[in-house]
């Protein structure tokens, strides 16, 4: 039995600290999103976080497990925050509640709680909403820098309580760059598409800046050793490589690697979603394969599949592969290599 623990001598964080650090690292991204998409982002995150904590408390009570430690580890709060970030700013409260329940109750607790869920809870919630409520899930308004008008938009409250009239829905919704590019039509060449200025002024730079904010938070997590570099690096480099191959083969029809990296959920997904340790592969080699798998799936679904963004599906699909990856990527210790070559000849008896 070992007596010393790193956390006691101030050398390493506890699980709760890890979770809180990830939440802290989302703040730049949340701030950037709020700047471009309005207070709906913050209301989403707060609502999802609160609902997640409430759902966790409820189900721990139902499972007759201690409630306090489960809440103190902040894992439910983190799931809520990540799901809240993924939702369009105009999401009504009931939509958020459905997503949170799917994430915390079904994907996490019904599988045994923290540490036992095979799937990324936030992405289970997100995927469920995307499939069930596609209209609401594409309600991304064109980004506009924060101002007094947008800050106290009269629609904010209506958004939160889910009372937006259908006309307002139409007025609000605007396609994301990935969405627009996806539906540009077969006959249109990429050059023509961009020349026609398909997106409102500043849309691409807004998405790029948000992506860079996620990158900043993600790098901070790597620097703090909260997450390892393996998954993000593997995922981003495989995405870049595959997107570059597509782009090189036919630049008139496929988007550039940079476009893939800087729009949609790519960087958020790479640093905050794919790196969820519970549902990711275990060994370092496994993590590399897992990250590459996600990157490849994202590009394939975006390019050839039916959904404009694909991070959630790619992560969930790779979650399925984790048991297999874990089985086949057990590291071979040094002591198992070259044993015969290194050992000195044994004296005969």
């Amino acid at each position: 039995m070992s007596m010393m623990h790193a956390s006691q001598v101030g050398a390493a964080p506890s699980t709760a600290h890890l979770m809180r650090w990830v939440i802290v690292a989302t703040l730049p991204g949340i701030a950037a999103m709020t700047y471009y998409f309005g207070l709906g982002v913050i209301s989403n995150v707060l609502l999802a976080g609160l609902l997640a904590v409430g759902a966790e408390a409820l189900i721990m009570t139902l499972r007759q497990r201690p409630v306090r430690p489960a809440l103190q580890d902040s894992s439910a709060l983190l799931t809520g925050v990540l799901l809240g970030i993924s939702l369009p700013p105009a999401s009504p409260w009931w939509l958020i509640a459905v997503g949170v329940l799917a994430a915390v109750v079904v994907a996490k607790q019904l599988y045994g709680g923290l540490g036992h869920n095979p799937f990324n809870p936030a992405m289970v919630g997100y995927a469920l909403l995307l499939v069930s409520f596609p209209t609401y899930m594409t309600l991304w308004a064109p980004p506009q820098p924060l101002s007094i008008e947008t800050l106290f938009s009269p629609t904010l409250w209506a958004q939160i309580i889910g009372m937006l009239p259908p006309t307002a829905l139409d007025a609000l919704s605007g396609a994301t760059p990935l969405d627009t590019f996806k539906h540009k039509g077969e006959a249109v060449l990429a050059s023509e598409f961009w020349a026609s200025q398909p997106l409102p002024e500043g849309t691409l730079s807004a998405w790029r800046n948000v992506a860079l904010a996620w990158l900043a938070g993600g790098l901070a997590l790597i620097a703090k050793r909260i997450i390892s570099w393996h998954i993000p690096v593997a995922m981003l480099s495989s995405m870049t490589l595959l997107a570059a191959l597509f782009y090189a083969s036919d630049p008139s029809h496929f988007a550039s690697p940079l476009f893939h990296l800087l729009t949609g959920a790519t960087l958020f997904g790479a640093f905050f979603i794919a790196t969820d340790p519970v549902s990711a592969a275990t060994s370092q080699r496994g993590k590399l394969i897992y990250g590459v798998g996600i990157g490849v799936l994202v590009i394939i679904i975006r390019t050839l599949g039916g959904y404009p963004d694909a991070v959630a599906f790619a992560v969930l699909l790779m979650n399925v592969c984790v048991p297999l990856l874990d089985l086949y990527t057990v590291p071979r210790p040094n002591s198992h290599y070259n044993a015969a070559a290194q050992s000195k000849p044994s004296k005969p008896l």
């Binding site: 039995m1 070992s2 007596m3 010393m4 623990h5 790193a6 956390s7 006691q8 001598v9 050398a11 390493a12 964080p13 506890s14 699980t15 600290h17 890890l18 430690p69 580890d73 894992s75 709680g113 923290l114 540490g115 036992h116 390892s228 340790p277 519970v278 990711a280 275990t282 060994s283 370092q284 993590k287 874990d326 057990v330 590291p331 071979r332 210790p333 040094n334 002591s335 198992h336 290599y337 070259n338 044993a339 015969a340 290194q342 050992s343 000195k344 000849p345 044994s346 004296k347 008896l349």
Partner: protein, 554 residues
Amino acid sequence: MPAYEFPGGIYPPERKARSNQSPLQAAPLPSQVTLPLKQHAGNPATPCVVVGENVNVGSLIAQRNGMISAHLHASISGTVTHVDDTAITIEADGLDRWETLPPLDWRTAAPAALLERLESSGLAGLGGAGFPTHIKAKVAEHNVIDTLVINAAECEPYITADDLTLRHYAADVLEGAQLIARLCGAQTIVIGIEDNKPEAISALTQALSQMQHPATIALKVIETRYPSGGERQLIKKVLNRDVPSGGLPADVGTLCHNPGTLLAAFHAVRDGKPLVERIVTLTGDAISRPGNVWVRLGTPVASLLKGAGLDPHQLHQVIVGGPMMGTPLTTLDTPVTKTTNCLIAATLAELPPAPVESPCIRCGACELVCPAQLLPQQLHWYARAESDSTLETLNLFDCIECGACSFVCPSFIPLVEDYRSAKQRIRLKQIESAKAEHAKHRFEFRQARIAREDAEKKARRQARLAHTQKSAPSSAGDDAAPEADLRSLRIAQTAAKAAVKKAEKVLARAAEQAPKQRFEDLETQLATAQENLKAAEARLAEARANATQKDSTI
């Protein structure tokens, strides 16, 4: 500085300054000692004294039992007051009369005499496992050893016993190393020491510059990182050799010894002093006078700590060994043994109990620090699920139980405990299935013993016959048969000798790999081989007597 690295490792707070500031002292003589019969790997020793007997310091009080075992000597002079299956108690007479063996010179004495001295001095490794030193020295019979590694890394926090040993006895330790190197045939001696012991390093440098040494001795100062004192880790670090999984350092031509053991070996040879005392680190915030002391084996921990200024109100727990791999004591009545290198009297604030365990989130912190390149988080999962076959796929038995994974676990999971109990469970299963085998081996032993007694009886009779019939002519026997008999008996004797050697090798290897286990079955097999050898020798003697008798009659 070597450029080689072992994987993983951690940097726990060292906390060595508490005990390495004060000079080495001798602890007061205890008024009573309790000497456990099992202070070493292998079988407990068998008492050879009775209650009431007077003993001197160094008197043999229990004999080794079986091959993997060590003699035990009285550590104070006085009267034996209690003998049972587990320990011998001696009441001191305060005279401290010594009984030593004649001095030997390791450079000129015969190797057999040196081995015999190591054995009769009751030497066992002082580092922790307590492997009998003479068995380890005999490894050269089976493996080619080119390098002796002095494991002076002492990577565990708190412990400074090796540090102080080297500061005070650097030259003696080096002599001891050359003695062992001579016995095992090693041409090179490498000292592996962490860079947090500058005084020991300078003592070694000075001793090296002043002494004559036939073997090449290299001093390798390595970075302070836990667990660089692990045998495999140190060998990797200083020699860049990977000890194969399930193998021993001897498999890569290496032997590892701790400085304390080498010092004891040298004193046993030069001064004829059996192993009756050792250096122990007394430390922890609950004592006011921490330091290192020479302690007679069998001294109760309570009196030692009291002598070092123990504050019982501050005391939370006493740990034997280091804080990473040591074990907490349940009672302070426990005596100091050959493997007690450190006693930590810790306060609650100093080594608080681990917070409540939370679920593993597979963060991988454990994997990054594992020096054996395992997947601790997976091992944890499957250990709790008792999936033993998966555990073996994940190389559970490569785990050295260093505790680096538990140290960094953000969920405070006692990982090493999981692995230990899983190993224990798997071993028990193997023992279950080995029991039937053991019964068979016991039967074979009995058969061999009967055959040996039979053969010896016959040999004696034949010898008597030969003696009485020397003068008188005997009846004519078959003439060609004895020649053929002698040859086949000689072959049988050689085969039996080989079988004994092989059984010894198997047992030594098994015991060195898992020093905490018992090896009754292997000891039985060795005993059977020995009986067979004796029987073969008796038959040969009988045939020879027969032959001479024939010769004399012709």
